[in-house]
């Protein structure tokens, strides 16, 4: 049977390194998928699309890191924004999706230039011998507004 467990890390300070330990259920056979999400935004209320932190995960008592990721914030659904003006420059001069909400979508103009696919877990096969996964998350954001949450989703087979 497949199951998903979620571990949340609350980030409240700049350059913070958080050590984490995830306890898996006792009947876990293996970890089959991982997904990491975060909801950070900077002091100008701009949704960040660049990296916001690093995550490292390893099976306890083994030296090998089995998962490492540069964590980025999830973009909102692209089709919330006007099709006729898909690209704008933000305050950092970066070109990206329009961040001002023009919700709901303007159906009448422009064209659908985005093709969406299902959000899926990163496929992996880890055999945790002692049911503990440990690691750390480093917050690399310097313009942190308030705090944010990093969610680690582990798809497991029990």
């Amino acid at each position: 049977m497949k199951k998903t467990i979620i571990h949340q890390i609350e980030i409240g300070e700049r350059n913070l390194k958080s050590l984490i330990q995830i306890k898996l259920p006792r009947n876990t056979k293996k970890v089959t998928g991982i997904k990491v999400t975060a909801n950070a935004y900077d002091t100008n209320m701009i949704i960040l699309t660049e990296e916001i932190g690093w995550l490292w995960l390893k099976v306890a008592e083994k030296r090998d890191v089995f998962f490492a990721e540069i964590v980025k914030t999830n973009l909102t659904q692209n089709d919330w924004y006007s099709y006729d003006l898909p690209f704008v420059k933000d305050t950092h001069g970066k070109i990206g999706l329009k961040t001002n909400t023009t919700y709901p979508i303007s159906f009448g103009q422009g064209r659908a230039w985005i093709d969406g696919t299902k959000d899926e877990f990163f496929s992996i096969e880890v055999l945790p011998e002692n049911l503990i996964i440990e690691g750390y998350y480093t917050n690399t954001l310097t313009s942190l507004r308030g705090g944010y949450t990093v969610n680690i989703y582990l798809a497991i087979e029990v």
């Binding site: 998903t4 949340q8 909801n39 659904q77 919330w80 909400t101 093709d115 969406g116 308030g146 989703y153």
Partner: protein
């Protein structure tokens, strides 16, 4: 409810009337729905659901999505083909057809709260008895 191509599609609504709270409700699937194959989540305010929502969904005490599973991972936008918007859950026996949803709203600066609706669609297979 519609009943076409051996599939039963049902819709259940949950009204989120206050912020930073958990709303629970229980629904019953159609008696002819034998196997649950997928679900879909929508809202009248997709942006609020995206930033603020997380939920737990159970089918007869079988946990489909655990507590804290973010709603943004279950939402589909217009850029996803209609045929791909359902989240597949395999083929689960519906049993007595009880679906429990526990939706949690959590404040977020990018989406100010207004009351909104969360809708869960279920897709079930009807199995006809062979004679």
């Amino acid at each position: 409810m519609s009943y076409k191509h051996n599939l039963i599609k049902e819709r259940f609504d949950l009204t989120i009337s206050a912020e930073d709270q958990t709303f629970k409700d229980s629904f019953e699937l159609d008696k002819n729905a034998k196997r649950l194959i997928g679900i879909a989540l929508t809202s009248d305010r997709d942006d609020l659901m995206f930033y603020r929502g997380s939920q737990k969904i159970l089918l007869n005490d079988i946990e489909l999505f655990p507590e804290g599973f973010e709603s943004k991972l279950l939402l589909s936008g217009l850029n996803v083909a209609p045929d791909c918007r359902m989240i597949t859950v395999g083929e689960l026996e519906t049993g007595n057809g009880k679906v429990d949803i526990s939706y949690t709203d959590k404040p977020h600066d990018l989406a100010r709260f207004v009351p909104y609706r969360v809708t869960i669609y279920t897709f079930c297979i009807v199995e006809f008895e062979e004679k």
